[in-house]
């Protein structure tokens, strides 16, 4: 094969960038290749022009493009080869990566180790089955963000936003500042999955109403959206309540209703998947069920903070480098289970052998006040901590002493 690399990283967003630099640090002589389908590196960060990135990782508040550039600036010095305009079609358990590349055509690359860093995409109208017509003017929030912030087109003038995820909240402020009128943010749940800070600084600051337990039940308009019907839902069943319908005149409906890890390649290769995270099942090195294939960032599980993506990807990149250099982690494998209020915990597996600290990330399944987080190993309590508040929108982290793990562990809440 013409192209051989020790480490191939699929995706040049925040996850791929951090993984590549960390792989270089671990293996100074390794041949590293990054494949990116866009024309530029940085992924979604390039269109996230608001600030709030990097508080944990760099200790300062940066905008998305600034955060990305800090990594991109280091790539060249780190002698990491980058192919942009390159789409990966599939990869095999022999670690042959098939891709099409604007500069090279169809190419096969033999990798020593693969890091999956493809990120995620947004749920669309199709995933929600909103009744009504199919006019122009319905965008996912991230699509509107790209049109506005990169291409320079304002997607609409009178806007209703469905879903109170962070991108939707950010776009409510962005479009207001660009001169559009944002009439409403409707959220089907009784709470927002977005950060408090965004609710205050994007909605409250601009007098944009946020209605919980509300959803869009019809879209109107033939050529272009002319309005939407918004209804209250029963909090228990999340079904619309008859008689609560309200018409909002608008030309644009933005959807901010969740993200899906983009795992077509992963599934195609036959890697074991987790049905809750929609990402691969991994161990603490972020190695998947396929030896030498690692995953990190939003393709593994959807993060709220890019800082966490960078940290996780550094783990995956370093482990991929060690694997490519012939050091393989082996040992007894224990399962990490989530129950009683914990939706998932990651890594899902732990390879025994290390004595150090082990960070476990998890999310709860609803909002809880004064819960206690517990980690059990058989009848031993490995970890127990009281929390003031936990919400599904905030990923939690805890640090375990790996030496104490002698069997499968369970992460749970004492509610």
């Amino acid at each position: 094969m013409e192209y051989r690399y020790d480490i191939v990283i699929i995706g040049g967003g925040p996850a791929g960038l951090a993984a590549a630099l960390s792989a270089r640090e671990t293996a100074p002589e390794a041949k590293i290749l990054m494949l990116e389908r866009d024309k530029k590196l940085g992924g979604i960060l390039q269109q996230c022009i608001h600030n709030g990135f990097g508080l944990h990782y760099f200790g300062q508040e940066l905008t998305g493009p600034e955060y990305a550039q800090r990594f991109i600036d280091q790539l060249e010095a780190a002698k990491i080869e980058v192919w942009t305009d390159t789409m990966v079609l599939d990869f095999s358990s022999e670690k042959v990566v098939d891709c099409v590349c604007a500069a090279r055509g169809y190419v096969q690359v033999q990798a020593g180790a693969i890091v999956l860093a493809m990120g995620c995409r947004e749920r669309t109208r199709g995933a929600l089955s909103i009744p009504g017509t199919r006019p122009a003017g319905i965008y996912t929030a991230g699509c509107a963000q790209r049109l506005n912030n990169i291409e320079g087109y304002l997607p609409g003038k009178k806007v209703v936003i469905l879903g109170s995820g962070d991108i939707g909240l950010i776009m409510a402020r962005r479009m207001t500042w660009e001169g559009a009128q944002v009439k409403l943010v409707a959220e089907i749940m009784p709470y927002s999955s977005g950060l408090n800070r965004n609710i205050v600084q994007c909605l409250v600051d601009n007098d944009i109403p946020l209605k919980f337990n509300h959803t869009v039940t019809a879209v109107h308009g033939q050529e272009r959206v002319t309005g939407v019907t918004v209804s209250e839902v029963d909090p228990a069943t999340r079904r619309p309540i008859a008689g609560t319908e309200e018409f909002y005149e608008c030309d644009t409906l933005l959807l901010s209703v969740g993200l899906i890890p983009e795992n077509e390649l992963t599934r195609g290769a036959g890697v074991e998947m987790d049905r809750i995270t929609n990402g691969a099942v991994v161990d603490q090195f972020r190695q998947t069920s396929m030896e030498g294939v690692f995953a990190c960032g939003n393709v593994l599980h959807v993060h709220d903070l890019v800082d966490n993506v960078s940290n996780e990807s550094a783990i995956a990149g370093a482990a991929a480098a060690r694997y490519a250099m012939g050091q393989k982690a082996a040992g007894q494998v224990y399962a990490v289970k989530a129950e009683n209020g914990v939706r998932y915990a990651l890594p899902q597996r732990i390879v025994a052998g290390d004595a150090g600290k082990l960070d476990v990330y998890f999310r709860v399944d609803a909002a809880y006040r004064n819960p206690s987080v517990q980690v059990l190993c058989g009848d031993k309590v490995l970890y127990s901590r009281k929390k003031q508040i936990m919400t599904p929108g905030e990923m939690e982290k805890m640090t375990l002493d790996q030496g104490l793990i002698t069997g499968d562990i369970t992460v749970r809440l004492d509610k």
Binding site: I49, W177, L195, V200, Q201
Partner: protein
């Protein structure tokens, strides 16, 4: 005034009142919340992040921000100034795009590189 604290996920509902000529904060559960509420009631500050037009660059726009937070009350005026701004490529991160925007004493700077096309 009533406000939601943004310091942590608790999101405390905080009330700030004038008692005997002094500001009194209640509803907070920590010291940081008190500090935030006092700042919000005296002079709320925000960082403005937005876009300016670029001539001769890779794309039509370049993202910008105020180097520090400016008074919330000045956001509208600052946005008005930004509307008329057009810069020539190349632009480098940190380049000053507008000095002392809207008289706030804070510079508007580029937050991305834009090569010449």
């Amino acid at each position: 005034m009533e406000l939601t604290c943004i310091v942590c996920p608790m999101g405390c509902r905080i009330t700030v009142e004038k008692v005997d000529g002094r500001l009194h904060v209640s509803g907070n559960t920590c010291k940081r919340g008190e500090k935030y509420a006092l700042q919000e009631s005296v002079c709320p500050m925000r960082t403005l992040t937005t876009l300016v037009r670029v001539r001769g660059g890779e794309g039509p726009l370049c993202p910008v921000k105020t180097r520090e937070a400016i008074p919330k009350a000045m956001l509208e005026e600052a946005l008005g100034v930004v509307k008329g701004v057009c810069v020539d490529a190349p632009v480098k991160i940190g380049d000053v795009v507008v000095k002392n925007i809207a008289g706030t004493g804070v510079d508007l700077v580029a937050t991305a590189n834009r090569e010449r096309r």
